[in-house]
């Protein structure tokens, strides 16, 4: 009926079978242990939600409205005690080594209760993702070591990622735009390191983080070819915190201004710069694009999980209200129109979840953590005692050969299709999940009427919180364009994206 050659040819036609079947392809390769592990993560998240978050969510939001300068150290401390800041750091870097897709389920669970608190944990992993995107194994290993140390010493060590600048938001999220953007955060090469000058704004978790992963540029005339990624610790001379933004929602998670004035960063804290990749067989711009694609493909799946959590939280609150409130003489939940609205909300959350799951499958197959999901490696690290990891693996990771090996595998060895696929699914999941979150919060407030307006009934807070998700990690408009770039630009030469009309 059909030859194998025909199958190959026909499945490569648009849409490429491998683009639309990431989950199907991944399932046969994924270690079975991931399922049990993810189930455990969900249970841990629910326990944490019930014991720690639920008594605290509304109180924190109220307190932040009263005193916007408050910082939620007490929660950060708790999350640290529960081990959440090292839970998804690979064992080979000293972390607990839970599989990365399970982080999304954890974020959905926690976000269904409070997006601010979920961000206080999840945003740390955006920074972890951004350092891994450089594959500078020595620096990554050191930074992860600080996180683990902070957990042992009960002194939380969080990382933040600093990308957005006062006059460049969307521009710095897209390689095709950054060269035309108004870039002002510059890292100048000096003997022994770099000197940063400039300001970063809206940096989530800034004020509660000890390390900041700063994406700066060595040359403002051509930022795309001059990406410099540096780790800056609190207390470094020339670095200071500016204002803490007063936001509509997600109030418990600070959005910070980071100010750099002649801030010197030594070479051993430089994760990436043009010099490190001078000999690579690709354009310098392509290296910067790969950093971004790796980071955003993973982090946008996480933001989608936040959106899914918001969508689910809104549904659950609306359902609880409908189960106990009479409208026109009978329980709201027994009005057909209300059942239909609730079903629609459930569907929105379910589809949002599928979108981040598929993005995670793409990342597991082609992205940042693909190595960790290869069965032998997964089980090897899962059951390897930490003592052996500490004695042999961690020291190996700090050798230059480790960086050489991983950069060969991940920066040189990956095909453009891999980046197109993970970036496309990351963007799709981001705007699908976050649009669902906002939509459901709107619906919940509508369904609850007067009760939905009150902070003490929570859904109004969910709506305020959810709106941020459509803006950060690239606006949903940018993500739609990025998806289109990934699905169409390579196949149709006449397609031009991010070009001024």
């Amino acid at each position: 009926m059909i030859t194998s050659s025909e199958i190959k040819t026909l499945c490569a036609q648009a849409p490429d079978f491998d683009d639309i079947a990431c989950g199907l392809n991944a399932t046969k390769k994924a270690p079975k242990g991931m399922v049990a592990e993810t189930r455990k993560v969900v249970a841990i998240a629910r326990k944490f939600k019930q014991e720690v978050m639920q008594p605290y969510t509304l109180e924190l939001d109220r307190r932040m409205q009263q005193d916007p300068e408050h910082l939620p150290w007490e929660f950060v401390q708790k999350a640290n005690q529960w081990g959440f800041y090292s839970m998804w750091i690979p064992k080979s870097f000293g972390g607990q080594g839970y599989n990365i897709p399970s982080l999304s389920y954890f974020l959905e669970e926690t976000a269904s209760e409070c997006l601010a608190l979920a961000n206080l944990i999840g945003v740390h992993y955006l920074a972890i993702t951004s350092i891994f995107s450089t594959w500078n194994i020595g620096v990554i290993s050191r930074l992860c070591g600080f996180v683990r140390e902070g957990e042992k010493n009960n002194k939380p060590c969080l990382l933040s990622t600093a990308i957005t600048e006062p006059n460049a938001g969307t521009d710095v999220e897209e390689c095709e735009l950054v060269d035309k953007g108004n870039i002002t955060c510059i890292a100048t090469k000096v003997s022994g390191g770099y000197v940063i000058n400039g300001t970063k704004v809206f940096i989530s978790n800034g004020h509660v983080s000890q390390w900041h992963i700063v994406i700066a540029y060595a040359d403002a005339r051509k930022p795309s070819e001059n990406v410099v990624i540096l780790a800056v610790q609190n207390g470094t001379r020339g670095f200071s915190f500016g204002r803490k933004e007063h936001k509509m929602g997600v109030k418990g998670c600070p959005a910070s201004e980071l100010i750099f004035k002649e801030c010197f960063v030594p070479d051993d804290l430089v994760l990436a710069d043009p010099e490190q990749h001078r000999k690579a067989k690709r354009a310098a711009k392509e290296t910067g694009a790969r950093f971004l694609d790796y980071t955003l493909a993973a982090s946008r799946a996480g933001v989608s999980a936040f959106g899914t959590g918001a969508a689910r939280g809104a549904y659950e609150s609306a359902l609880a209200f409908a189960l106990k409130t009479e409208v026109d003489g009978k329980l709201l939940v027994n009005h057909e129109w209300a059942q239909s609205m609730l079903a629609e909300m459930y569907k929105n959350a379910a589809l949002a979840r599928l979108s981040y799951a598929e993005a995670n499958h793409a990342n597991g197959m082609y992205g940042l953590f693909s190595l960790l999901q290869i069965k032998p490696l997964y089980y090897y690290f899962k059951y390897l005692p930490m003592a052996i990891v500490d004695k042999w693996i961690v020291p190996f990771m700090r050798l230059p050969v480790a960086t050489w090996l991983f950069q060969k595998l991940y920066l040189d060895g990956k095909k453009p299709e891999a980046f197109r696929r993970i970036a496309g699914w990351g963007s799709l999941a981001k705007f699908t999940g976050t649009d669902a979150g906002v939509k459901n919060c709107h619906m919940a407030v509508e369904l609850m009427g007067q009760a939905g307006l009150r902070q003490d009934h929570k859904v109004e807070k969910m709506l305020r919180d959810a709106k941020l998700l459509q803006i950060y990690e690239g606006t949903n408009q940018l993500n739609r364009l990025n998806l289109f770039k990934c699905i169409a630009a390579g196949q149709h030469p006449q397609v031009k994206v991010f070009e001024y009309e």
């Binding site: 109220r62 409205q65 009263q66 957005t164 006059n167 938001g169 969307t170 521009d171 735009l177 035309k180 953007g181 108004n182 704004v201 809206f202 933004e245 007063h246 936001k247 509509m248 929602g249 959005a255 409130t325 009479e326 409208v327 026109d328 009005h335 129109w337 209300a338 609205m341 906002v438 709107h442 407030v445 509508e446 369904l447 609850m448 009427g449 007067q450 009760a451 939905g452 307006l453 009150r454 902070q455 003490d456 109004e460 709506l463 305020r464 709106k467 941020l468 459509q470 803006i471 950060y472 606006t475 949903n476 408009q477 364009l481 991010f498 001024y500 009309e501």
Partner: protein, 416 residues
């Protein structure tokens, strides 16, 4: 500001929705009839005079919004964690913004819903909290008038201070749908209240409130007017809410508080519906104001902010968002204008038109103010601009007079 000789009706070509734009329908003929009808009739009785009065109202409201509301919008929004803007409310009172629909006998201006809508739209473009205060008080006045409680209203209208003039009302609930009712022992001339009323708007700031109550002798609910300083009235702290922060609400517990029965026992639903017929158009006007404010802020920002080396207004994706906002606003203007005209003239099915206008325009306002934040990106999410407040206020406003989907079902039921 609107000059006296400028046309009062905004045409679709004026799409900047600046503070000078306002929907002021031309005065129309009205029928003689009930008290509200007589109030509305003033615009019809003297077309030229009515138009002139409307223009003056529009001018006064615009100036007031720009001078008194816009500069302190973020500060006023901090309530209950910041001071209440009592001085601003007093100034609005002195400008007769609360008297628009009252008859002259009650010191009112005897104007129709068009005039009220004009004022609400202008005010809500800058800060909807004051709009909420006006809306609540006028809604309570309407119920009192529908119930024929003019003597009680007369006593309130003799007040010279805003606080004594304002009337609390749980204006985000239709007590006929969700029966949040206090209990009352009904007797001619006085009743005694017990139980709890949730989310009594202005309950903590107005001297009196109109309370929906259940009486033992009637299936339907009734209304009672209570002095909020009366013994047996216990008010909660101001409720932290989504929007309209400076239009505060409280939960109220009654324990033997004396109150004045309003209208006939068991007829509260009738009074509420009559009030709601007219006030839906006023609620729609609030939403139109929020939309216009959001669009103006978004457009101003889009002209200044650059992306990829060009002002973002020149990127077609942003232009499309703005276009969709503008199209919705232009449609909302037309719908509101028609609804106000119909309500004032009491043309056939004006009640349905008023309600339909509100349901449609409130949804549009939620969409437009959501996009209004999006155009500004991260900046729009911050307290420094008015966008995030308009987003919250628009959603809050959608809940006026009851649960939004339930209002749609009611609309359909009325047609059957």
């Amino acid at each position: 500001m609107i000059a006296q000789n400028e046309p009062a009706v905004v045409t679709v070509t004026q799409t900047s929705y600046s503070s000078t734009d306002s929907v002021v329908p031309p005065a129309t003929k009205t029928k003689e009839g009930s008290a509200p009808q007589k109030a509305a009739a003033k615009t019809g009785a003297d077309n030229q005079g009515g138009d002139k009065e409307l223009k003056m109202m529009a001018k006064a409201a615009n100036e007031f919004a720009l001078k008194q509301l816009a500069p302190n919008r973020e500060e006023n929004d901090k309530y209950p964690f910041g001071p209440y803007f009592a001085d601003v409310v007093q100034k609005a009172f002195e400008l007769d913004f609360f008297h628009i629909m009252l008859p002259e006998a009650l010191n009112g201006m005897n104007l129709g819903i068009s005039a009220l809508s004009t004022v609400l739209e202008s005010i809500c473009r800058e800060d909807s909290s004051l709009g909420g205060i006006i809306f609540t008080t006028v809604a309570a006045q309407e119920i009192l008038r529908q119930a024929g409680a003019d003597p009680a209203l007369q006593r309130i209208c003799d007040s010279q201070k805003a606080r004594e003039f304002l009337i609390g009302l749980p204006v985000f609930n239709n007590p006929g749908e969700v029966r949040h009712l206090a209990q009352a022992r009904w007797a001619a001339g006085q009743c005694t209240l017990s139980g709890r009323i949730e989310y009594m708007v202005l309950g903590g700031t107005a001297k009196q409130a109109l309370v929906p109550v259940q009486t033992p002798g009637a299936a339907g609910f009734s209304y009672a007017l209570v002095n909020m300083e009366e013994k047996g009235v216990r008010k909660s702290e101001p409720i932290l809410s989504l929007g309209l922060h400076a239009c505060p609400a409280v939960d109220v517990d009654f324990d033997g508080a004396k109150a004045l029965p309003i209208g006939q026992e068991g007829q509260g639903g009738f009074y509420f519906d009559k009030m709601a017929d007219r006030m839906h158009a006023a609620a729609a006007a609030m939403s139109v104001g929020q939309m216009k404010g959001s669009f103006r802020e978004a457009l101003d920002y889009a002209k200044k902010r650059e992306q990829g080396g060009h002002a973002i207004i020149n990127w077609s994706e942003v232009k499309m968002i703005l276009a969709n906002m503008a199209i919705k606003i232009t449609n909302a203007e037309m719908i509101l204008e028609k609804a106000c005209q119909a309500a004032d003239a009491q043309t056939p099915r004006w009640e349905a038109q008023s309600r339909a206008a509100a349901l449609m325009i409130q949804e549009m306002a939620c969409d437009v103010t959501t996009d209004g934040i999006q155009v500004l990106g991260g900046v729009g999410y911050m307290k420094d601009f008015g966008q995030e407040k308009r987003f919250r206020d628009a959603k809050h406003t959608q809940a006026l007079l009851g649960i939004a989907p339930a209002k749609k079902i009611k609309f359909m039921n009325e047609m059957l």
